[in-house]
C-alpha cells in the first residue's frame, strides 16, 4: 500500500532568548492510504508541532527552523510555494483541532463557514448549493436539524455538536489525509465516544487516512491501526496497535500503560520513575511487524 504521508528525519528548533532549543530530534513516520495511525505522547513531546509542520503552518513562523523530508502522496512538500501549501489545506489535507468551539469563527454562522470550506474545492459554488451540500454532510454526522445548525453561531451549539460540525467540514472536500489533534479531549466521555465512533465510520467509508494525535491510550487502542509513541521529540516505539498494547517494548510506553487507571479496579498505579531506560529516548523499539 502506498504512503499518503511520509515524514523523514524531521527536526525542529525554536530560536528563543537563550539560543536555539531543539524540539524534534529527527522523527520519521508514515501513514498509508486509508490507514489510521496514532501519534501518542505527553504534553511537550512534540505531537502537535509535528501536525502543524505537516500542514506547513510552523514553517511560516520566523523563530522556527524546520529540516527533514515531508512527502504527501509522493510529492515533496518542501518544494511547494506558499500558495500551493494554502491550496492543499482544507482540500487534500484537513485538520480537526482539540477544542471545537475555538476552532470555529464565533462571528460567522456555521452555514457561512461551511460555504467557505466547500468553495476551496469549488470556488464558483453558489450559497444555495453550498447549503444543500452542507445539509447532506451534516446528516452524515447525525445532525438532522441541519437548517437550524447552519443558521446558528458556534456559541449557540454544544461542544459535541460543534465537534460534529468540524468533522463534517474536515471531510467535506474528500481529503486524502485527515489530521485529528486530540479530537475528543474537550468533550464529555459519552460525547467523546459518540464522536470517535462517528469519525471511525466516516473515514472507513471514505477511505481517508488519519493521523490521530492523542495522549489518551484508551482512545488510541479503539481507533488506530498503528501507533507511534513519541517521547521528548523522538519516536521511541512503533508498531501495530495490538502488538504495542499487548507487549510494549520501551520503558516509557510501559510507564504510560501502567499509569492508566483501569475500570476493573486494582487501585492506583504505582509509577517506577527510577527506571533508567525510561529517561532514555534514544532506545528505539519496533513492536511486531508493521
Amino acid at each position: 500500500m502506498s504512503d499518503v504521508l511520509e515524514v523523514r528525519d524531521l527536526c525542529l528548533r525554536f530560536r528563543g532568548y537563550s539560543g536555539m532549543s531543539e524540539v524534534l530530534h529527527g522523527i520519521s513516520l508514515n501513514v498509508r492510504a486509508g490507514e489510521r495511525v496514532a501519534l501518542v505522547g505527553e504534553s511537550g513531546s512534540g505531537k502537535s508541532v509535528t501536525a502543524r509542520i505537516v500542514l506547513g503552518l510552523l514553517q511560516e513562523l520566523p523563530s522556527a527552523r524546520v529540516e527533514g523530508g515531508l512527502f504527501f502522496e509522493g510529492e515533496d512538500l518542501n518544494r511547494l510555494s506558499r500558495r500551493q501549501w494554502q491550496a492543499l489545506r482544507g482540500t487534500s489535507i484537513s485538520m480537526i483541532f482539540q477544542d471545537p468551539t475555538s476552532s470555529l469563527n464565533p462571528v460567522f454562522t456555521i452555514g457561512t463557514q461551511f460555504a467557505e470550506v466547500l468553495r476551496r474545492r469549488d470556488p464558483k459554488l453558489s450559497r444555495e448549493a453550498a447549503d444543500e451540500r452542507a445539509g447532506t454532510l451534516l446528516q452524515s454526522v447525525s445532525i438532522h436539524d441541519h437548517a437550524r445548525v447552519l443558521s446558528a453561531y458556534p456559541f449557540q451549539l454544544s461542544g459535541g455538536m460543534n465537534q460534529r460540525v468540524v468533522i463534517a467540514m474536515a471531510l467535506a472536500n474528500h481529503p486524502s489525509l485527515l489530521i485529528a489533534d486530540e479530537p475528543g479531549t474537550a468533550l464529555d466521555v459519552t460525547v467523546q465516544a459518540q464522536t470517535l465512533k462517528l469519525m471511525h465510520e466516516l473515514v472507513e467509508r471514505s477511505g481517508t487516512a488519519v493521523l490521530f494525535i492523542s495522549h489518551n491510550l484508551g482512545v488510541v487502542r479503539e481507533f488506530a491501526d498503528r501507533v507511534f509513541v513519541i517521547y521528548r521529540g523522538r519516536i521511541v516505539e512503533q508498531g501495530p496497535t495490538r502488538a504495542i498494547f499487548e507487549d510494549p517494548g520501551h520503558a516509557y510506553t510501559r510507564a504510560l500503560m501502567a499509569a492508566v487507571p483501569r475500570i476493573t479496579g486494582g487501585g492506583l498505579p504505582e509509577l517506577n520513575d527510577s527506571e533508567s531506560a525510561f529517561l532514555d529516548p534514544m532506545v528505539v523499539h519496533e513492536g511486531g511487524k508493521a
Binding site: 505527553e42 504534553s43 447525525s142 454544544s158 461542544g159 464529555d188 466521555v189 459519552t190 460525547v191 467523546q192 465516544a193 459518540q194 470517535l196 465512533k197 495522549h215 489518551n216 491510550l217 484508551g218 482512545v219 487502542r221 479503539e222 498494547f245 510507564a255 504510560l256 500503560m257 499509569a259 492508566v260 487507571p261 483501569r262 475500570i263 476493573t264 479496579g265 486494582g266 487501585g267 492506583l268 498505579p269 509509577l271
Partner: protein
Amino acid sequence: MTPLLSLRHVSKTFGSRPRAVHAVRDVSFDVAQGECLAVVGESGSGKTTLANMILGVFGQSSGEIWFDGKGLPIRRTLEHRSAIQLVQQNPLSSLNPKRSVGASIRLGLDVFGIGARSDRWRLVEDALEEVGLPGNFRRRPPAALSGGQCQRVAIARALACQSRLVILDEPTSALDVLVQARVLRLLEDLRRVKGLSYVFITHDLSVVRNVADRVAVFRAGRLVECAETPAIFENPQVDYTRQLIGAVPVVAEDELKLRESLSGGVPE
C-alpha cells in the same frame, strides 16, 4: 456516626417561570469523615452547581445542607469557608498569575487567620512540602510551574486552610496520564494521613473506580444512582450508568470484557 456533609432534598433553580432552569432537583446524600464520594455525570448534569452550593458560592433554592452535624447558613462563616475548600480543573487559571504561588497560598491563611502572622510563610512552605514540592517554590509565579506542579499548589492551598472537606472539580482532567497518576496518588495519601473527605467531581469513570468509596451518578440535575463503587461498576442499576461505563476508553482486555458484559454501548 454523624456524616461530615449531609444534603437533604436540595434543589437549585435559576431564573423564574416560564424560563426557569432546574439545575439540581431534590438531591440527598451524605459524605462520611474520611470518605471519597465521586459525583459523575455529563456536562449540564448539575455537578458543578452542586459543588457551588456546598461551597456557599450561592445558596440552594430549597432543602438543607448540613456540615459536621450543623445546618450550613447561606452566608457562610469564616470557619465554614476554611473547612470546605475547592480544587479546580485548570490548575494554571485557578492561581493568580500576578502573585507568587506562595502568596496565593498565604492569602487563605491571612483571610482565615490561621497561625501567627510571623509564622505564616513557614506554614506555606510546610504545605508545599506536604504536596511534594520544595518550600522555596513559594517565590515562583504560576507560569514557571508545570500543570502538575500548579495542581499540587492548588492542593497545598486547600491543605493550608486546614480544610476537612475538599471539593475536587475534575482535578486531573487537564493533566497527562503520568502526571494524573502522581496527583491521584498524592490525593489518596493525603486523605489517608489527614483524614480528609473528598467530593470528587469527574466524568472519568476509570479514575472513579480506583479512588472513590462511593459513586453518585447525576443526570439532568437528578441523582439517578448512588452506591458503593464496586456495586456501581459490577452491577449498575440504571441504564444511564451502564452507558457512562460503556463510553470509557479502555486499554486492557479484561476491561473490554467488563465493558461488553454491561452492554450499555455507546449512547446514540
